[in-house]
């Protein structure tokens, strides 16, 4: 029992996950800038972000779950406010990058992408919301379930709207994915879920079919951005488009594919691919470390997700709030990982969402490390509670 008391604060598995991600991330970013296309050294900068993130995560260990619970609402408001402010900011402090106004930049020294933090705050607040709801409506009815679903959507819709206006469709969809997973795991009646899922799938199918068959209508009447239409078209029929996306996908496939079984090793990048250190980092991993390396990274993400689900299940016994947080993070990492790696190897359309823990980026790394800190804190709490039960 001595041993287990020691381990309340030390979660070797989580630390190993993190170490693995940091090492892979730094190696991949290093290889991504081999072709001399950038003036900055992103490895060093990324390491600095990680250091800051680890400090942030460490600080979170001193926060009680109760305190986190109480601040959830305020953090959510902070997240939404930052998006609103960004939306109305002049270009002097929020200059669009690649056509999307997603960053506060031109500030001294730093640039911030608020949506990355809002994502985190939304998960905290949704967990709070579901927990509060279940306390209030101990007797579950269809009506109460509907009310819960409405609240979850309402809360998600506000930040999602501003992100959609940036425009950043990828992140918007991430928000809805998180909300959807939390609805499923909040325990609402399966029939409602079936209805929502059916509607959602039908709507998505209809949208894709509409875009594929009537791209002009989609663009002119539904006001969908042309580049988004192109992405869907490229993905749906790779030979039909000779667009920029097709070019990106070709480059990405060439980069990943040429890694073959065991990769080219360090410092041997051959293909210059845009955004290699950020959104297309997995292409570099595939090129450098081959199928073996790529599959290991995917597996580690899978194990990490498994760890999160287990943690969530175990936390449910002492704090449903904590378990919903775990599920939220599970959803977040799942969608980022699947979408990012999937687009790199050509099974989903290209969107600009990063591979968490691995892609270069200040805001993403900081928010991911805050999330990691919270997970670690929950793991500690869970470990403590477990020992109480057995002692």
């Amino acid at each position: 029992m001595f041993k287990s008391r020691q381990s309340h604060y030390l979660h070797l598995d989580l630390i190993l996950f993190l170490l693995f991600f940091i090492v892979i991330s730094l190696l991949a970013i290093n290889n991504a800038q081999q072709l001399g296309q950038y003036n900055d050294n992103f490895v060093v900068k990324h390491l600095v972000f990680y250091m800051l993130g680890i400090m942030l995560a460490a600080a979170i260990q001193f926060v009680d779950l109760e305190q986190l619970y109480k601040t959830s609402f305020y953090l959510y408001i902070l997240g939404v406010l930052s998006l609103v402010i960004l939306h109305f900011s002049p270009e002097s402090i929020a200059k669009p990058v690649n056509g999307a106004k997603s960053w506060f930049n031109n500030l001294p020294f730093i640039s911030i992408q608020p949506s990355e933090f809002t994502k985190l705050f939304l998960i905290l607040f949704l967990a709070y919301l579901i927990f509060r709801h279940q306390q209030k409506y101990a007797q579950q009815t269809i009506a109460s379930d509907l009310w819960l679903i409405a609240k979850i959507f309402g809360v998600t819709l506000i930040p999602a709207f501003f992100i959609w206006k940036q425009p950043d469709l990828g992140t918007t969809l991430v928000f809805f994915f998180i909300a959807g997973i939390l609805i499923i795991l909040s325990g609402v009646d399966w029939r409602l879920i079936a209805v929502i899922l059916t509607t959602g799938i039908a709507a998505a199918t209809a949208a894709v079919l509409l875009i594929v068959n009537f791209p002009d209508f989609a663009q002119n009447v539904l006001k969908i951005e042309p580049h988004q239409i192109n992405r869907v078209l490229t993905w749906f029929d790779p030979s039909s488009q000779d667009s920029n996306d097709r070019y990106h996908l070709d480059l990405s496939l060439m980069t990943v594919g040429s890694g073959q079984l065991t990769g080219k090793g360090m410092n041997s990048a051959q293909v210059q691919i845009p955004e290699a250190h950020t959104d297309f980092i997995f292409a570099i991993i595939g090129e450098s470390f081959g199928f073996v390396g790529g599959a290991v990274v995917i597996l580690v993400f899978f194990l990490f997700l498994y760890r999160l689900v287990i943690l969530g299940m175990k936390s449910a016994e002492f704090s449903p709030y904590a378990s919903y947080i775990c599920y939220g993070f599970f959803a977040l990492i799942l969608i980022h990982t699947f979408q990012n790696i999937g687009m790199t190897i050509g099974i989903v359309p290209i969107t600009g969402i990063p591979l968490l823990f691995i892609s270069y980026g200040g805001s993403t790394t900081l928010s991911t490390m805050m999330m990691f800190g919270i997970i670690y804190r929950i793991a500690t709490e869970q470990s403590k509670q477990e020992s109480f039960l057995f002692n």
Binding site: A138, Q139, Q140, I181, I184, L185, G187, Q219, N220, P226, L253, M254, V256, G257, S258, G259, Q260, L261, Q270, V271, Q272, G286, G290, F291, G294, A295, I298, L299, F301, F302, L305, Y306, V309, G312, M313, A316, L334, F338, I341, G342, I345, G346, I347
Partner: protein, 696 residues
Amino acid sequence: MAKKKEEEIKIPLRLNILFFIVFIMFAVLIIQLGIVQILHGQSFQEEIDRTIQDISKKPVPRGKIYDRNGKILVDNKPLYAISYTPPKRVQHDDKLELAEQLLPFLSVDESMIKRLTKRNKQEYIYLKNKEEIHGRLTDAEKEALNDVEQYKLALEKITDEEIEALTEEELKVIAIKRELDKAYALTPEIIKNDNISIEEYARIAEHLSELPGINATTDWEREYIHGDTLKSILGSITTQEQGIPAEEEDYYLTRGYNRNDRVGKSGLEQAYEDVLRGRKEQILYTTTKEGKVIDSEVIVEGERGKDLVLTIDIDYQKKVDEIVMNELKKARSQLPGPNRYLEDALAVVMNPKTGEILALSAVHYNREKNEYELAPHKVFYDAHRPGSTVKGATVLAGLQSGLIQPGQVFIDRPIKIAQTPTKASYARLGPVNDIEALKRSSNVYMFYIGLRFGGEFRHPFPDNSGAKYNPEGAQKMRNYFHQFGLGVKTGVDFTYESTGFVGDAKYPGNLMDLGIGQYDTYTTIQLAQYVSTIANGGYRVKPYLVKEIRYPSVDDELGPIYKVNHPKVLNKIDVDPSYLKRVQTGFWKVFNEPGGTGYNYWKGKSYKPAGKTGTAENEVYLPDANGKYRKVADTQNLALVGYAPFDDPEVAFAIIVPNLGDVRGQYQINHHIGTQIMDAYFEQFDGKEEEEETEA
């Protein structure tokens, strides 16, 4: 409590289902990763390794042109030049940056700035303020138009004020960029080669490392050393701006030319383009897909164009030009009234045995400018009635066809055919044989030959009766003429030669006129070939201008011989040598016996000349106020053919001076030119010819 229990089971069940889906999703990722990397990995790697090979051609200087003695006629004047060789996939931004870098080094002429179009300026302003100008498009326009259309529209949104506001410096940058834009990837383009000072050249040479693609090099400019002399024969080339002629683009491109290559567009420059152009240096560049050059290898060594050595003797050419010009001036000034329609004097001097053209001269009086100009191509282009000079061919046609016998006598008195103007010689010459007929230039003798070709054999022809006439006779006679080069191409190695006018010869009078050079027209070079054929004993030799083609040499000496244009006999006159002798004798008597039509001018010449005079009646037609051509004057053409020495001819000549006034006491310009160019020839070449002969 039951509720609580249910809750506890429900969530793990959903999590299990969810996690199973996650498992499927990740399995799909790994399977797809395997497909991309293991199944297709090899081909992706091959695609990366695939390189692109391009051949770039570097131009070489053109071949030079020399006269027969190795004196240079056309040279390449070296110029300081700045060239630009763009890499593959060069961006406009990069070129603009380079133009800005070049500005302090390169002086920009006013003319370069004047050539700038509005579009050039708009593009510059766009490049400079891309975001701002693109922002002038409305969202609707951005959505409705593709990138190219958006760009065009954005250019239109640049106001005239903005264009006006461009500074002098900016205009210079635009002018430099315009030059840079002309270059094709990996192919050097001369961006400036005129007015480059040594200082300017040196400054750029020092900074080459900062100026990607720029090189300080040399270019050349075609230099015609003797100015107007032979200019229209030597021809000209296109400028780099003009490049290859657009209408024959495919022809040139398939032969390895670049669009900006200078090519011969007239004269020998065009006729001998194939040898003058030289062989370009070919460099094989290996580039990656991104356009980075990873290897370059010279696969064909460049070689300057080969040199032409002409048959022309430039010193003699200049003398002939001078003689012809002076005589034309004299004829015009001595009888300004009658000779007011006199414009041209044409002369060819060639070797009758080989066909080498020693000199060819045509002087043209330009009425509008009131200037005399050299237009030597006219000896190939312009055809005139040569008058009696062709009588040698007429007599030989008669002898060869058996229509007359050697020594045949006809009585020279006017022939009166019914419904036809009386046809006569300049005087009643009485009975004349073939030789006498040539010596005294009897028209009537030739008329009888003509009549016989038409089927009319009566002699003397009874006055005022009708003559038998078979029009096929004209073709028969012309076929004999063709053997001498009259009425057919002489085969001269020039871009163009005329064959002259051929009448339809409907009446016996036409055929009779044909026999005295009064019907069909011939060029000067045809007459020279004709007289050469008589001089050399019946061989029609091809006249030629290019004697040899030489490999280029490094120094000023001529290089080794690449090809010699040997004399070429086109055909031999199929006639008893004794018949030819009779014609030669007739030609001898013309110049050397009292009573010969040229005796007064040629008597006593030590170089034993022989020849035939000719005077043709001609008419000048000019457009009237309504643009209709009306006859304004009766004129005469004075012609002369000849050769020397009589027994071993080494030089032959033909002269035509068309449209002198038809008056008594006309200035005999043909003899004046003829005697002077022969005198000049023997003055210059006497004794020298011996050496050449042993050499040959």
